[in-house]
Every structure is written in structure tokens, then in C-alpha cells.
């Protein structure tokens, strides 16, 4: 079977870069902008339309900004949470004039392509003033490593070298009040990453203790529901599969029968979790199908007494083909295309595509036990993507520059490196 291969094309740098290490770049959930965290204690906001710096958020953190995340589902305003080595989490707000201006900025960008570069400058200075420092969340004892908003935007999870995970509720009371909902301390070492399930209020965490843990709220208490063991080194990063992801159907395969069976197979286990580690592996984890919820009218046990089933069984479904020789720092599972990107200390970008294993070219719909198997193909690897520098983070984002094809939703890859550079890539088949 012919293996489809892809090519990665360099599109642009985000300029000007930080002069110090950059750790992570978070694309805005709706606007064509990204936020990049730097060791110089600032966060830079860049446009994905013209790849230029829009504003620099500074003055809030006393040490490196390690992580940041945009709050989803808010209208008219952008809210950014930042986590720093100074042990605090900052909340920043800005009215979305970006939203309206962005179209205008795009037009300006055309002007600047023609050598007319001055137009952007005065604008930028004004905009710098507009990031409002809202509140500092204090609680962690040491460096904050990762922050993540729940899919509703109601909850913010933060984690630290102090081994704890905090869940904060954004009270949205107009007064920037956050309430501590839970503090979980089960990890036995630094918690490196927290990441919310794409639709459920289920949090995944990755740690220096080599484990991944899953957390849910049970009645009133947040507690651990699973501890995933398998990695043989620090687990650096986590990401979730998109809710509607379907692996690539082999050429000649019957699309509707594959899709139907895949959806049935996945209905009870939900989106999978992917992890990358210092052990140079990338692993995919799947929840074992949960018991179907009893139909209404099922009166075997009143729901108030029925055990809530706090334990979940998660199993390691796959280990991706080896593509890295040094520590893997980040993994990103595209919610649009299902492609998986990984980066790490070896300076490589690797892209994987999941496809149905060829042995099941015709899924048998009559037999539900005949589970579909998939495999991951390393479709492209780019060596030295940031020259000699280590790559700390990778993320997919919606393409927004003028080079994109009209009317077609395209995707770019954004990589963030040790020398402060941030690069934008396109993928083509």
C-alpha cells in the first residue's frame, strides 16, 4: 500500500522575535493572533495575518513566563492566563478591537508588503496600552509550568513544580474574582502539563513522576480517576483528540461503513489522549468503554445511591513510530485534520497521520466485536527546523495570511524555539 507523504514548507517567522528563550505559543481560539511566552518575562502577541508583533505584555511577572492560555467562549474581549516561574498566574484582558482591526490590519499588511511599512507603527504603541492586568492568582509554592482553561471557560487549571494542581473558578463577576475549587496533590513530583478534555470537565495532567493522571469532579470533590503508567521518563506534554476525528480511510475503502463503525466504536470511550516524554516516545491512551448510561426508566438502583464510578480504566492504545532521538517536549493533535505534530530537543518536527490498518479494508458491520485497528504513519520529518536550537512547543492554528487559498480552511503549524524564534509552517501533500 502506497504511503502518502507530506511536505512541510516554511511560511514565515514571527517578527521581531524575543532575544531570549521562548517556551510556548498559544493561538487565540477565534482571532488570527497568537501569544508567545518568553524567558524575558514577557508575552508577545503576534498577528498570523502579517506575522508581525502586535503588542508585548510585560510588567506582570518577575521571572520567565513559561505558559499561557486563552480563555475560550467569550465575546468582545480576549482573556489570557499566564503562568510564570515566579509561582504566580496572571490574568490579562483586552477589548477585542483586534477583532475589527484585524481585517484592517490585513489591508495594512498588503501596504507594507509594497514597502509601505510605517503605517503599523503608531497603532502598535496605542495597542500596547490596552492589555489590562486583571488579577494575579497566588497559591503555588514554586514555578508554574502549565495553565489550561476548561472547554466552557469556567475553570482554569494550573500546575507547578510544587507537585500540585489547582483548579480555579472564574466567577465572571466583573470584579476579576477567582475562587479556588480544588487542590490536587497526588503527583509525586513536578506537574509539567495540564490539559482539559475537549468537551467534558475532565482534566489530564503529566508529570516528572513519569505518570499521567486524570481528574474529575465527583459530587463536590475533585479527585483522581485514573493514573496512566507507561512512559519511562518525564511526561512533558499532553493533547486531546478532536471530538469528530476519523482516521484516514484507505484508498478504495467504503467511507460510510468505516465512519459508522468507527463512531460506534468510539462513542463510549470518547476522545483519546496523546502524550510525549523524555523517554523519546509518543503514546496514545484510550478510555475503556464506559457502561452505557441506563435508559431513563431503568430503576435497578436509584441514581443517588448508584456508585458514581470514580475509577476509569485507561489503556495505552499505541506508541507512535520513533521519530525523535532526544527528549520530546510537545505534541499537538490537530482538531481540524487529525494530524499529529511533535517537536523536541533534537530540533526536529515530525508529523504523523493515523489511518485504518489495511487488514480491515472492509469492516464487517454485522460484527461489533470486529474492532477497527489503526496505525500511525510518520508522513514527514523536518530536521533542524530551528537550526541548531531545541524546539519547545508546537501547535496547529488556522491559516490567516494572504497566501491562503480563498474559501478553503487551511492550517498552519507554529513552532517555538530556544533562541526566541517562532516559525510558521504549512503542510502540503
Amino acid at each position: 500500500m502506497a504511503v502518502k507523504t507530506a511536505q512541510l514548507f516554511f511560511l514565515s517567522d514571527l517578527t521581531p522575535p524575543s532575544l531570549e528563550r521562548t517556551w510556548l505559543t498559544a493561538p487565540h481560539p477565534t482571532l488570527p493572533i497568537v501569544a508567545t511566552c518568553s524567558s524575558d518575562k514577557t508575552v508577545r502577541v503576534y498577528s498570523l495575518t502579517n506575522f508581525k508583533l502586535l503588542s508585548t505584555i510585560s510588567g506582570g511577572h518577575k521571572r520567565s513566563v513559561r505558559t499561557c492560555a486563552w480563555k475560550p467562549h467569550i465575546q468582545g474581549e480576549s482573556v489570557l492566563a499566564t503562568g510564570s516561574f515566579d509561582a504566580t498566574v496572571g490574568i490579562w484582558r483586552r477589548w477585542d478591537s483586534y477583532g475589527q482591526e484585524e481585517g484592517g490590519m490585513g489591508d495594512l499588511a498588503i501596504g507594507s508588503d509594497n514597502g509601505d511599512t510605517l503605517q503599523n507603527e503608531p497603532n502598535n504603541d496605542e495597542e500596547e496600552e490596552e492589555w489590562r492586568f486583571a488579577v494575579l492568582l497566588d497559591g503555588h509554592d514554586s514555578e508554574v509550568k502549565s495553565v489550561s482553561w476548561s472547554p466552557s471557560g469556567m475553570l482554569l487549571a494550573t500546575c507547578s513544580r510544587d507537585k500540585s494542581i489547582w483548579i480555579w473558578e472564574d466567577l465572571d463577576d466583573g470584579d476579576n474574582n477567582f475562587e479556588t475549587v480544588a487542590v490536587m496533590q497526588e503527583h509525586s513530583a513536578d506537574v509539567k502539563c495540564v490539559s482539559w478534555h475537549p468537551v467534558e470537565e475532565c482534566l489530564a495532567s503529566a508529570s516528572y513522576d513519569d505518570t499521567i493522571r486524570l481528574w474529575r469532579e465527583d459530587v463536590d470533590d475533585w479527585g483522581q480517576v485514573a493514573c496512566l503508567k507507561g512512559h519511562e521518563g518525564t511526561v512533558w506534554f499532553l493533547d486531546w483528540e478532536g471530538v469528530d476525528n476519523i482516521p484516514r480511510i484507505p484508498a478504495g475503502g467504503d467511507e460510510s461503513s468505516f465512519t459508522t463503525q468507527w463512531k460506534r466504536q468510539r462513542a463510549l470511550s470518547g476522545p483519546r489522549l496523546i502524550s510525549c516524554s523524555d523517554d523519546r516516545t509518543v503514546r496514545v491512551w484510550r478510555r475503556q468503554p464506559m457502561e452505557p448510561k441506563p435508559e431513563s426508566g431503568d430503576t435497578t438502583m436509584p441514581s443517588i445511591i448508584r456508585p458514581t464510578g470514580t475509577e476509569e480504566k485507561w489503556e495505552e492504545e499505541s506508541v507512535l513510530p520513533k521519530a525523535h532521538d532526544l527528549s520530546i517536549y510537545a505534541v499537538a493533535w490537530s482538531k481540524r485534520t487529525g494530524l499529529i505534530a511533535t517537536v523536541g530537543a533534537d530540533g526536529r518536527i515530525a508529523i504523523f497521520e493515523e489511518q485504518f490498518a489495511p487488514t480491515y479494508s472492509t469492516p464487517d458491520e454485522s460484527n461489533t466485536n470486529n474492532t477497527l485497528r489503526t496505525e500511525y504513519i510518520n508522513v514527514v520529518t523536518m530536521e533542524g527546523a530551528h537550526g541548531i536550537y531545541e524546539i519547545n512547543h508546537v501547535q496547529w492554528a488556522k491559516r490567516a495570511d494572504r497566501g491562503r487559498e480563498e474559501g478553503k480552511e487551511e492550517e498552519v503549524l507554529v513552532t517555538t524555539a530556544d533562541d526566541g524564534s517562532i516559525k510558521v509552517w504549512t503542510i502540503a501533500w
Binding site: E143, R161, T234
Partner: protein, 199 residues
Amino acid sequence: MAEMQNSNPTILNAADLPTRLRPAATGKPGAYGSGIFTQSLSNASDFFSTSPLSSSESESEDDLMEEPIDEQEIYDLISTISDPEHPISLGELAVVSLPDIAIRPSLPNVPSSPLQTVTVLITPTITHCSLATVIGLGVRVRLEQSLPPRFRVDVRIKEGTHSTADEVNKQLADKERVAAALENGTLMGVIAKMMETCQ
């Protein structure tokens, strides 16, 4: 530091420590402006050179070309670091030694890659020395600050020489922890003191 962990360490004679053959009278540190690595070689070339052209011109050529870096140069960089407990160098205490330094390609399967990994195995003076992490961090910081960025630094406790070697190794290999340590004033104060004896 409250109490010394090893009050009577074995000390090697400075004259027995490994060194590159070079003239006794070395140039002033920093006189060549092109970095630590050109020093020993450009000193040597100055000393042996008979051509009147060489001194200034070869220097500028040295600037353009990165000198190959070998184990001895790594040793020279880290052996002069002082032990945090004693005013004695890591070389004299045999915490670092030339045979325990290796330079290898980081990505052996990618022959064109310029990345090289410097591995330094450190031998703590006593097997339960809690300062092993600080010493290792000092070695890692020294190398990261001195070497060009294409080098990956791998500092580890030599096998069988420390009771909690795995723990120390994991910390020293963790980029994020090392980065955070560099922003920790107290810790960096200790490291800076250890490096006072470096050129």
C-alpha cells in the same frame, strides 16, 4: 553551609592534572577576544609561529572559524570550578576527570547535523553527598554558558558513585528545572562562588 559533608577529601596534586602541552607563560585570559576556545590554540600558534604575518592575521581567521572543541577543552572549562565546600577545584578533587568526558554527535543517524553532545560523568567525593546536584548544576551551567549553542550538555553522576544518582541525573537533565534554577538567586549565588576560580 551548615556542616561539611566531607571534611577530609583526597586532593590530587595540581601538577598531575591533565593538561595540553603548552608553554608555561600563558597569555592573559580574554586577550584574544574570540572566546575561551581559541585561547590555548592561538597561544600555541603564537608561540611556535615564525611567520611575521601569523599573529594578527591568523587571529582574525580564528575568529571566522570555530575551533574544534575536544575533551581537554571541556576539562579545562570545568576542572577549575571550586567545590562548594572546599576552596579546592573539581579537578583537584577528581570530581571531574578527563577520561569521564566524552563528545559525540547528538544525532548519529543524521551525519549532516552539527549537534554534539558533551557528556560529563561526575564522581562525588562521598557517596551520599547532597551537594552532588549543586556540583552537577555548576558544571552544566558553566558548559552551557561557555559552549556554542550547537552543543547539548549531559551531566551525570558516574555509575556506582552515589546513592541517589538516578534522582540527581533526572534533575540535571531537566531543561525546565535547570532554567528555573538559573533564575533562583540563592542557588545562583552558590554557583557564582564556585565559578570565581574559573577564568
